[in-house]
Point group: C2
Chain length 198, copies 2
């Protein structure tokens, strides 16, 4: 991978969440930072404002484990796919891109948001929450998954597109609750689907 | 949204696929390109190599419909969420970032890849394909969705994590085939899940 650093020895680096696909930050890297990233497995950058090497998260603890480094067609932009230990932004936001057109979320942002909600329900256990009731009762959750599977099947056979979408949403919601109840996540299932496609 | 253009009047712009979350390109924009993007709804950029305004896809036909523009915490990087009419890269690749660590794919890349496979099977109908058999037989697909829903329920109750993941993968695969057989996609279902979360 031959990186075309610019006249200042820098290369822009798009930082993307490995699991969710969320773009977290646009930052800059240089040869030394790329070397340290490869050596340590944690994201190193070049801070243009402080004019120094920057081990992302060294101060805050929110380091980013690098799972993949990719280069663009011109060789002058990097994509780092990372598992962040915490918020990527110095403001405490999960991503630096929290301004502008946020609503509605992009389709690809919906399942990650749902999984964050499930994890929060599991941790905080708010009273009266249907999700908490399901997480506590795997038999009920299983019954719902089976029931919704029947309903989406019927919808696909003879009902409107809107009904199909709604019943499929029911299957996915209950299936994700079932997974989280077992301490599993969609990423675990995605690894299986990927392995099968080979 | 107050963009902090650099001393050359430019701002880097991360271009991301609205549906799949795939990072397509890192490019540059300026005030005029942002204005044209807002006016037309199609991505306009500034070409640093040609030193001119660049209506993305004007020549190739692979324009990019802009669904959202977001700005980062420092105001000096844009994120454009787009629906591309075709490959984003001048090489014909779907994304410009096709070099480096591509395998295994990131978890968030797996369902979009599966949906592309389903769409290809539907279009090309290769002989002996199980997916084609399912797409042609909604009753069989429905039966499989229900069967796998039962199996994931049993797995969640009494089997290993690996069994849970595998059975959940079966549910998702068959559910996506059911959706594609009806001309629906995961994005349609994600829109429902998002609406419910409000």
């Amino acid at each position: 991978m031959k990186i075309a650093f610019d006249e200042q020895g820098l290369c822009p680096c798009v930082i993307q969440d490995w699991n969710t696909g969320e773009v977290l930050t646009l930052a800059y890297t240089n040869e030394e930072a790329v070397r340290l990233t490869r050596e340590t497995g944690e994201l190193h950058l070049w801070s243009r404002s402080r004019n120094e090497l920057w081990h992302k998260g060294a101060t805050s603890g929110n380091v980013q484990k690098v799972r993949a480094l990719r280069l663009d067609c011109d060789g002058d932009a990097l994509l780092a796919l990372v598992e962040p230990a915490g918020p990527a932004c110095h403001t405490g936001e999960r991503t630096c891109f929290f301004t502008g057109d946020l609503e509605p979320p992009a389709p690809h942002e919906v399942l990650p948001a749902l999984e964050r909600t499930l994890a929060a329900r599991k941790a905080e256990r708010p009273e009266g929450s249907y999700t908490v009731q399901l997480l506590d009762d795997p038999a009920l959750t299983g019954e719902k998954v089976r029931e919704e599977a029947e309903e989406v099947t019927r919808a696909a056979r003879e009902e409107t597109d809107d009904r199909v979408d709604n019943e499929a949403a029911d299957v996915i919601y209950h299936l994700l609750v079932l997974l989280h109840g077992r301490g599993r996540t969609l990423a675990d299932v995605e690894a299986i689907l990927d392995a099968r496609s080979r």
